[in-house]
């Protein structure tokens, strides 16, 4: 596969979003609000308690804060963009391009994430660091593994969004589906509450799903709770799920493309 056009897509996405950078200033406030809500809830819950489960209060605040900080990086709207492409008919022109549609979308999302890393993730992290007592990564080794795990956060999230977006070929409006996915990912990725806190049955189900790779896995690595063999398993799971989801997306798109109806464009 020739990667040059995909790098160009990523670069253009980066430049396009630069024009909308204002929106990220309000975004920082939004994330501060989110972290604050959960900070106070956990503070109330930890009153008079040393630890809950395997987490101390400081660890829980670190878990929640870093969880929202990395969300500023891996998040993207591929699903909405594909739905728009189909709704507005732009898809017809895009399909004539001699590139893979799925990889084009992932490359654009990567450009966007690269932008977010500097303009959104770093300022949000600084703002949160000033207000809340966060812990550093457990060790330099954990920090490196954490950064590597973020790659899988991004890939799993992007591949899932591509699958949801492709449903727009069959459905005219996928807003409901996007909403359901949003809340499911929020819970099952462990963003709001660590998966180890889940009731046993739900925790067991979550272990067999890819969502944990988005938030729970990188956070546990950051905190040094996943080490050695568990770390290796996490990376293998990340790699496996990335391949499965991207493969699934590839297959689904090829199938859906034959059913595609474009109204105008």
């Amino acid at each position: 596969m020739n990667v040059t056009p995909y790098i160009a897509f990523a670069r253009i996405a980066f430049l396009k979003i630069l024009a909308y950078r204002l929106r990220y200033y309000t975004g920082i406030v939004t994330y501060m609000v989110n972290v604050s809500v959960y900070y106070f809830i956990w503070k109330a819950l930890y009153r008079g308690k040393e630890s809950l489960g395997e987490f101390t209060f400081e660890e829980m605040i670190t878990y929640v804060s870093v969880g929202f900080i990395i969300r500023t990086f891996y998040f993207n709207n591929i699903d909405r963009e594909i739905a728009n492409d189909i709704l507005l008919g732009h898809i017809a022109a895009k399909m004539t391009r001699p590139v893979n549609y799925q990889w084009m979308n992932i490359a654009q999302a990567a450009g966007e994430s690269f932008f977010r890393l500097f303009m959104f993730t770093v300022p949000t992290a600084l703002a949160i660091l000033v207000v809340f007592p966060l812990r550093a990564p457990a060790s330099p080794y954990s920090a490196l593994a954490f950064l590597a795990a973020l790659l899988f956060s991004f890939m799993v999230f992007a591949a899932l969004n591509f699958l949801v977006g492709t449903c727009a070929v069959y459905l005219h409006s996928i807003l409901g589906l996007i909403r359901a996915k949003y809340f499911l990912v929020e819970i099952l990725s462990g963003l709001l509450i660590p998966i180890s806190f889940f009731p046993d049955a739900l925790a067991e189900i979550s272990r067999w799903l890819p969502f944990q790779l988005i938030s729970f896995t990188p956070l546990m690595i950051y905190m040094g709770k996943f080490q050695g063999e568990q770390l290796v398993t996490s990376f293998l799971l990340g790699l496996g799920w990335t391949l499965v989801l991207v493969g699934l997306g590839h297959w689904f798109w090829r199938k859906a493309a034959t059913k595609l109806t474009v109204q105008g464009g």
């Binding site: 909308y20 204002l22 929106r23 309000t26 975004g27 406030v29 939004t30 501060m32 609000v33 989110n34 604050s36 809500v37 106070f40 809830i41 503070k43 109330a44 819950l45 009153r47 809950l52 489960g53 459905l171 005219h172 409006s173 807003l175 409901g176 589906l177 909403r179 359901a180 996915k181 949003y182 809340f183 499911l184 929020e186 819970i187 709001l192 509450i193 806190f197 889940f198 009731p199 739900l202």
Partner: protein
């Protein structure tokens, strides 16, 4: 009355648009409902581990959340255009069109689009009624509409009712189910007075949300910005879903007197949950709602007076 029937037309019009693809509509309702149910996941999982949040039990928090959804659902049905106000109306110049019509501009903006997807049992019933009503061409005739349009109406009215987000009825319905469940489970008293108060509090809650977001949209008259400051404020609604006492003084003050979301969800519930220590706040709910709606209307008419078209 005139506004009510025009609202009926806006609504019926929007329903027709959404029911053009009935299959999609049903999937949409189902998936948004799944989303709403999943949004309770945090509370459910949390209380699997702990038995109370600073003296508040699972059911009580569920009640606050449910009440919040009832108001928020109704608000969400209406609020679609408020988020896009800066871009759609001011920057693209659609507000000129609104100004020319003999209806209050805010009424038009709010009721021009609804959110449909999440109709639930109760709400689906409503769709069918409106649809059949329209299909059978019952009381309201196009002639009536033309006659109504010729009369001067408030512009605010037009803006609000031009867009609905009907799927958010689903949130309303889910919230109601949760509230009824907890009411039953905790064996809370239910007198006719309570029922009236509940309806009043719901109206106040919706009014507070609408007023706050109308005020934020009004800023678009002076500052041309696509996104505006609505998203962070919208996220602050989540603060109101928990007892305000868990927050520090600064946030308690903010939620009560600056952006009064606590008056739209937490304080109203304290009466029904028999937490009488908050009764003075409960009594203030209608006053806060009235004050904020007045402020919003005042700000809106100031904005309209100073409006300069972009000419597009």
């Amino acid at each position: 009355m005139r506004h009510l029937s025009i609202l009926g037309y806006y609504f019926a019009q929007y329903i027709k648009v959404r029911l053009a693809y009935p299959g999609d509509f049903l999937i949409s309702v189902f998936t948004s409902l799944a989303g709403t149910v999943a949004s309770f996941g945090f509370l459910y999982i949390l209380f699997h581990r702990v038995s109370s949040l600073q003296g508040w039990a699972f059911e009580e928090l569920l009640f606050i959340y449910g009440f919040n959804l009832v108001c928020l659902g109704l608000f969400n049905v209406l609020s679609m255009n408020l988020y896009e106000f800066g871009e759609r109306y001011i920057m693209e110049g659609r507000f000129d069109q609104i100004m020319l019509r003999p209806l209050h501009s805010l009424f038009q903006v709010i009721f021009e689009a609804f959110r449909i997807e999440s109709f639930q049992e109760f709400a689906t019933g409503l769709v069918v009624v409106v649809y059949v009503w329209h299909k059978l061409d019952l009381p309201l005739t196009p002639l009536d509409l033309v006659l109504f349009l010729l009369r001067p109406l408030h512009s605010l009215f037009q803006v609000i009712f031009e867009a609905f987000r009907i799927e958010s009825f689903q949130e309303f319905a889910t919230g109601l189910v949760v509230v009824v469940y907890v009411w039953h489970k905790l064996d809370l008293p239910l007198t006719p007075l309570d029922l009236v108060l509940f309806l009043l509090m719901t109206a106040c809650g919706v009014t507070i949300y609408l007023s706050v977001f109308v005020m934020l949209s009004t800023l678009s008259f002076w500052f041309e910005d696509r996104v505006g400051v609505s998203p962070p404020v919208y996220n602050m609604i989540a603060f109101g879903r928990y007892p305000v006492t868990i927050y520090n003084v600064f946030i308690q003050f903010l939620l009560s007197w600056i952006i009064p979301f606590a008056f739209a969800s937490f304080y109203p519930t304290t009466y029904f949950l028999q937490r009488h220590e908050f009764s003075s706040f409960f009594a203030l709910v209608p006053l806060v709602a009235a004050t904020f709606v007045l402020l919003a209307l005042l700000l809106w008419s100031r904005g309209v007076r100073g409006y300069q078209s972009t000419g597009s």
